[in-house]
């Protein structure tokens, strides 16, 4: 079957992103100075977290709200909550 990129797959999912992010980096210095592995940049199923030179950028708009990042971060440095009611992902099939 035709292989889709992750971006193409996410086009199939409906999102209603909030204005503000429900995910945040608690202390960016921890990412820069302490964290060498940057696990969040690959364990997230939709690649919400990207390392840009000296900081993590959070693309919360495509978050599927699984909770992996919160547990994956060995420094407990990801601020995590669910999006406000009515926002975020909606699955058609589930």
């Amino acid at each position: 079957m035709k292989k889709l990129s992750l971006e193409e797959k996410l086009f199939l999912v409906s999102f209603r992103p909030d204005r503000e992010s429900h995910l945040w980096i608690k202390d960016p210095r921890v990412c820069l100075e302490k964290c060498t592995a940057k696990w969040c940049t690959f364990t997230c199923p939709v690649r919400t977290y990207r390392w840009d030179e000296d900081h993590i950028t959070v693309f919360f708009e495509g978050c599927v709200e699984c909770g992996t990042c919160r547990i994956s971060c060995e420094f407990d440095n990801i601020g995590w909550r669910y999006p406000r009611g009515g926002f975020g992902v909606t699955f058609k099939y589930g």
């Binding site: 889709l4 994956s72 699955f91």
Partner: protein, 431 residues
């Protein structure tokens, strides 16, 4: 400020089961759901067992949006380019009552929500519970929601808020999960014509097949993959513990693409069209990761309470059963007009006597066993396929020499003593 007898947080199988029973018993019940409708954010692989849903809603088999009933369950142990397969097909599973069906949770939970509403409960969607409300003496008396003037009070709060249960953590009933206690699973819904599915899987009508995938399916990480047949799609997914994803540096979507490209899997999906990509956490910690189940004014059910038997991929059924037991406990507390910790602890006792506890107790060492015996996810699947290939290859080599080659290869990769110990421990863990 509004007051109810019971607040249920989360419209999944556990919460909806509890809400249904309590609403039918005449209590005022509100279900708070953060999605647009029950099921909007709910995900599982796809197998729903007949029990206990048919006990709670006897019309389940007739009315619920079911995909296919499972008549055959296969297990495939994969190496990079081979598969050792076993399975069980029975016409016993074709007869009613059906043992298991595949479902798509967005549709299934919506149906269940309609039943709960018809039973008299109020379902409030698009609403996030932010925190539990406590009295001065510490007991839980309600929840604060994201809505304006959104404080709700009740005799009991049932935390059915799923694997990430913010409520259970906030109420001090559990600590932060550890990365080996949770698996990240991703899944695709791949559309195929019903006739193609029936031909490829050897079924007719609404019959269906499940395939569990081990070994190379997870690139040797602790976890499993799966293929489940729906009416006009197949659900293909794979999960591995966050600990292993961290250690190996693997992205779950890449893992899924790896599985879909396996030579035993790809032909089943050929010509299919991806309709949805989903991700969810699976509580794999078992009994040893189970939180405290009750406190004054609050009970914890389903995934929020780690009630998943991963070896038998049972979760939604255990969740519903915990919802039944929680409802029973609430009714008992109501008779006594006391919702203190002591009275509500009868829920703990009900769970302890139930199959939830009994089955999780049987496999209580499984999580730590798998952590310590990764051989079962990489070495042994490889060896098994090597052995099968050797014995099934015909050439100028005698069978005895082939057997010797198999033993030599096995011993080269792991000592006899270690292999004996691995399998003895495996038997002790699951036996």
């Amino acid at each position: 400020m509004e007051r109810f007898d019971v607040i249920v947080v989360g419209a999944g199988p556990a919460g909806l089961a509890a809400a249904y029973i309590l609403a039918r018993a005449g209590l005022s019940v509100v279900v708070i759901e953060r999605g647009d409708f029950p099921g909007a954010k709910n995900v599982m692989g796809g197998v729903m067992y007949n029990w206990p849903i048919s006990e709670i809603l006897p019309e389940f088999a007739r009315e619920a949006p079911l995909e296919r009933h499972v008549i055959e369950q296969r297990a495939w142990i994969l190496s990079a380019d081979a598969a050792f397969t076993v399975g069980h097909r029975s016409m016993g599973f074709d007869r009613e009552p059906r043992n298991a069906c595949t479902v798509l949770r967005s549709r299934f939970d919506k149906w269940m929500g309609q039943k709960v509403r018809a039973a008299g409960a109020l379902i409030v969607p698009e609403t996030l519970v932010e925190t539990v409300l406590r009295a001065d003496d510490g007991r839980v008396i309600g929840v604060r929601t994201s809505r304006a003037e959104g404080d709700l009070h009740a005799d009991v709060v049932i935390a059915a808020d799923g694997v990430n249960s913010v409520l259970a953590q906030e109420a001090g009933l559990r600590r932060r999960h550890r990365p080996e206690q949770l698996a990240t699973a991703v899944k695709e819904i791949i559309a195929l014509p019903a006739s193609t599915i029936e031909a490829r899987f050897g079924v007719t009508g609404s019959q269906g097949v499940t395939i569990e995938l081990f070994g190379d399916a997870t690139m040797g990480m602790v976890g499993t993959g799966f293929i489940y047949t729906n009416r006009e799609s197949v659900s293909v997914g794979v999960g591995a513990t966050i600990r292993d994803l961290n250690d190996r540096g693997i992205n779950p979507n890449d893992l899924l693409e790896h599985l879909k490209a396996h030579p035993a899997v790809a032909p089943l999906l050929e010509g299919g069209e991806t309709r949805e990509y989903l991700a969810h956490l699976i509580p794999e910690g078992g009994l040893r990761a189970m939180p405290k189940l009750s406190t004054a004014g609050m009970l914890v059910v389903g995934d929020a309470a780690m009630m998943v038997n991963s070896l038998h991929r049972e979760g939604a059924n255990l969740a519903m059963h915990s919802g039944q037991l929680a409802a029973q406990a609430v009714l008992r507390a109501r008779e006594r007009r006391d919702f203190g910790a002591k009275t509500l602890a009868c829920y703990d006792r009900l769970v302890r006597r139930s199959i939830i506890y009994r089955d999780l107790h049987k496999y209580r060492s499984l999580t730590s066993f798998m952590e310590q015996h990764r051989e079962f996810f990489d070495l042994y699947p490889d060896l098994l396929n090597y052995a099968a290939s050797q014995m099934l290859t015909v050439g100028g080599v005698s069978k005895r020499r082939r057997q010797r080659a198999i033993f030599a290869e096995a011993r080269r990769r792991r000592s006899l003593w270690h292999m004996a110990r691995d399998f003895f421990r495996f038997w002790r863990t699951i036996g």
